[in-house]
Amino acid sequence: MSSVIVRDVSLSFGAVEVLKSLNLEIGKGEFLVLLGPSGCGKSTLLNCIAGLLDVTAGQIHINGKNVTWEEPKDRGIGMVFQSYALYPQMSVAGNLSFGLKNARLPKAEIAERVARAASILQIEPLLARRPAELSGGQRQRVAIGRALVRDVEVFLFDEPLSNLDAKLRGELRVEIKRLHQKLGNTMVYVTHDQIEAMTLADRIAVMKGGVIQQLDTPQEIYSRPVNRFVAGFIGSPGMNFFEGSIETNSAPVFKSGDISVDLSRYDFAGPGPEGRQVELGLRPEHVVLGHGADEMPVTAEVEVEIIEPMGSDTLVWTRYGGESLTVRAETDKVPRPGERVLVGFDPGRASIFDATHGERL
């Protein structure tokens, strides 16, 4: 059973088409992340689901009910905003109970729900304080609590962690995941941070230009991106790309300048890639440097240009066939800049995209 269904939804602001006939089905209890660069329409889509924006065309169903014309409060959703959006003049308890008071729930019920949300989020000691007296992390907890007390089926998060510093972001990320496991609600989460998307999501919808590019599990999106955009957007450090063409003798071969890569191990999606202009994508973590490189199907000797130590591992910048190639290496066996090293990779783990329309081959 689907919890949220977005059917052929379009939205235009004047001449600008933000969402283009978008379809999306979110299962009950699913954690779906809308991921994309700024301006891709992900927040707009969330606002449409919430009912804060009227759609130009299409339908939105929540819990089997067509809510396209319903007010936000009647849609059975709770929403958490990036800037927390706490009412500054009310105490934390006032913020949590505002929606319940508007719904004219009995006092005892309100008190009980606020107490329960506060205990889940561990904000009981803060209930009497004003938002101005809270830290960023505490504020976002209260904002989550405000969605929690509404006792709704669907939670909408609009970049909830973007205003926090890196450490807090990590902590709250885990907390949101824990919350999801505990409550089992449907959650729709908008972010431009791929780490958040990868760690939290059951499925990720990667968006660009008002269109969902790929909707799949994090692992599938990471290892089999459907097009050049998704491949470049997911992964940090980003994928290495090499422009070239495909030639077929006995087996397909990728040729670019003086490098040629045997693609007999690559699983082509369609037939006949011969002669096409393509881009070969290679993740830095799929390239082996130094020890073990010689066991890989494809090897090459490259010169180290720059190294970027990142603590857990080190990023090594090299050049391969005239293009830059970054390699993720273990910190204890990092070469020095200027050294020549052997790198190797398995073309079976690479991705090949058509150079003109960017689709995966």
Binding site: E71, K73, G78, S83, Y87, Q89, F98, N102
Partner: protein
């Protein structure tokens, strides 16, 4: 210079910098600032002169209003009163004659209060709701409506004087206090709506969205979310309206009758009366009395006024 010396001695006694031989001559710590510098003399001198220039007329008014007529006839307008008398103030308030009435400014004062209070409340209430609707509930044609309203701010009052006379006559409000209240409320609308719209636009839109998700409607959001956050801008509007309406002369004289004239019109009638002796002390006292209300408002809410201007009018 003293600062440098103390810094240098501090450096010498401090064991960590004791061996540092540059301490005496090189810059160390906060940069010393001389109080008597050419720049300060120019700045403070100019400010002082300007302040005196502006305060002098007020001084003359206060001093004159406390003198008796014989003393004024000596002609030393800057001299402090030899014999302080409050007689002119009492006369201005309760006995000065305008036309047939000889009950002073007190009648005009109460007329002004009865005009100002309802028009301030009505105009601020309506304009704040206008501004809130324009900022947050983008209805169809909102921009057109707003443009029309703003154009209203640029039309000179004189153009509309006579049409409004006809309008008030037809409504049976001509010459009454309520006619004046209506005129003041309408003419305050453009600028106040602009003020409130800009202020409400500066409140994060996510707050508004959150309140909608929480089930608050048009009035719920206005009264429970927006209003409590908007004290500064309400104070700004209050000051603009109270001073504007209190100081108004034109509408008062055009749309009023002798028994509904506001204080400003009555002041004019006292000061410009052509019969009898010109009582400068009474005129000064009457003028000061008339200016007292806006002055008090400024003193009470000056700080909030600055905050509101900074938050609402400039931003947005």
């Amino acid at each position: 210079m003293a600062d440098i010396r103390t810094a240098a001695t501090a450096a010498e006694t401090d064991p960590t910098t004791a061996g540092w031989n540059g301490a005496r001559s090189e810059p160390y710590g906060p940069r010393p600032r001389r109080i008597v510098s050419r720049r300060n003399i120019v700045v403070y001198g100019t400010l002082f002169v300007v302040a005196v220039y502006y305060l002098l007329p007020l001084y003359v008014m206060v001093v004159t209003s406390l003198k008796g007529m014989p003393e004024i006839r000596f002609g030393n307008i800057f001299a402090p009163p030899v014999e302080i008398t409050f007689e002119p103030w009492v006369k201005a308030w309760a006995e000065a004659c305008t036309g047939l009435n000889c009950d002073g400014l007190s009648r005009g004062f109460w007329n002004s209060v009865r005009i100002t209070v309802p028009s301030v409340i009505a105009s601020i209430a309506i304009a704040s709701i206008n501004g809130y609707a324009l900022a947050n509930w983008r209805f169809k044609g909102a921009d057109t409506f707003f443009t029309i309203l703003i154009i209203g701010a640029f039309i000179p009052y004189q153009v509309m004087l006579y049409p409004i006379v006809i309008l008030l006559r037809e409504m049976g409000l001509y010459g009454s206090i309520w006619g004046l209240v209506m005129v003041h409320s309408i003419f305050g609308m453009p600028i106040l709506t602009l003020l409130f719209r800009n202020y409400f636009s500066s409140i994060p839109v996510e707050l508004f969205k959150a309140a909608r998700v929480d089930g608050a409607g048009f009035w719920g959001i206005y009264f429970k979310i927006m209003l409590p956050m908007s004290l500064p801008i309400f104070v700004v509007a209050l000051i603009i309206q109270v001073t504007g309406i209190w100081n108004d002369f034109l509408f008062g004289v055009v749309y009023g009758r002798p028994d509904t004239y506001p204080m400003t019109v009555q002041l004019n009638n006292i000061v410009n009366s052509v019969q009898g002796v010109r009582e400068y002390n009474v005129n000064m006292a009457a003028t000061l009395l008339t200016g007292l209300v806006p002055l008090i408002i400024y003193f009470i809410s000056g700080k909030l006024f600055v905050r509101g201007i900074a938050a609402g009018a400039v931003k947005g």
